[in-house]
Symmetry: C2
Subunit: 218 residues, 2 copies
């Protein structure tokens, strides 16, 4: 059993297995996706899963690590210096929303990743804790910091935390509910143009919500 915990994918079979697993776990759920199906989808042998990951559970963990790595790239908030003025915070929130919206609305891998994370959380599986602490909590906290700076309110107040969840809900629903949205819109995919218009809408809602917050809690 070699590099079971390695996130880097030097081996092409290993990488293909993670990609296929992410797709099938996300689409059908962990239990419903069989190792045979995953191996076939990756063009690999069933035994390769045990070899590279030690078993099905190891493959699940490898998926979490792959998502964590990808997510760090898309929401690279951590690297930038924290904004000092309300206006700078507002702009930072705006650019985060646009970036995440573009990623969520279009990119195919995002579908699998979002579905996978959501499932792991709602099923409260063995990796729910890991996912929450490594990917969710710190990012929400950072968004609360920006929101607090932008509105002049306490970043860790209940109102702020809930407001950030409402904002997040808008963005990720365009991913989670996408099959429904596509049908209703008469689209077969979200074009780059459409993703831009969705981003515009979400930013407009962001500004409206920020203004409403400032007016309510001065």
């Amino acid at each position: 059993m070699p590099d079971t915990s390695r996130a880097t994918d030097r081996n092409p079979t290993r990488a293909a297995l993670v990609e296929a697993a992410l797709h099938l776990f996300g689409r059908k759920g962990y239990d419903a996706a069989s190792t045979r199906e995953i191996a076939a989808h990756a063009g690999a042998n069933i035994a390769a899963i045990a070899y590279h990951f030690g078993g099905k559970e190891g493959l699940r963990l490898a998926c979490v690590e792959a998502i964590s790595a990808q997510m760090g790239q898309v929401m690279a908030l951590d690297a930038l210096p924290p904004p000092t003025t309300p206006d700078a915070a507002r702009q930072r929130l705006e650019s985060v929303i646009r970036q995440v919206a573009r990623f969520m609305a279009s990119a195919a891998p995002a579908q699998d990743m979002a579905a996978f994370v959501l499932r792991e959380i709602t099923e409260n599986g063995p990796l729910a804790d890991t996912i929450y602490h490594r990917m969710m909590e710190q990012r929400h906290r950072m968004l609360c910091q920006l929101w607090g700076r932008a509105t002049g309110t306490d970043p860790e107040s209940e109102a702020t935390r809930l407001a950030v969840f409402a904002m997040i809900g808008q963005v990720i629903y365009f991913r989670i509910g996408q099959p429904m949205i596509l049908r209703r819109m008469g689209w077969d995919a979200i074009s780059p143009d459409a993703a831009g218009r969705i981003g515009d809408l979400l930013v407009r809602n962001l500004h409206a919500a920020l203004a409403a917050t400032e007016r309510t809690t001065p």
Copy 2:
């Protein structure tokens, strides 16, 4: 094989099976939830599933019918006369949001139903079409009517349909993402008080978004 398609639950075993199936399908997914587990959870025998529903698939269909019936009660928009003034439309939207938010945030069955529907849609299972047409589309259309009336814009324009999806996203995220939200808020459940505050937040965001729409597209 008796009343396979009956939605009314005269038989207590039948009703218990639907309830247990809704819970387990919603929590673990259709494939992952075994008929043995469902029967045990309902205090019934495995063979009762084949007897009452013709098989596992029939049980799945019975779940859809149960949700459809429940949803008609919670979002009883259809019965009321359509509002004529923008202000009446705004109030109608507000009351729908509060009602759905209260249901989504607290009631335990809502967890199972929301998770079940979401899964069926994202897995694009055999009942995805039924669910979309019987439960999603007409309600979204009705909300678009209200939104259009409230803002004076075309109810079926792209902007309106997307704006309604953004609004819906906020509401249902407080159900879908609830395990995450509870952790972050330090709650172990959403109290009635908290549900009220979440409703306040969502209504405030609704008003802000409506105002932003009016300003943008006069």
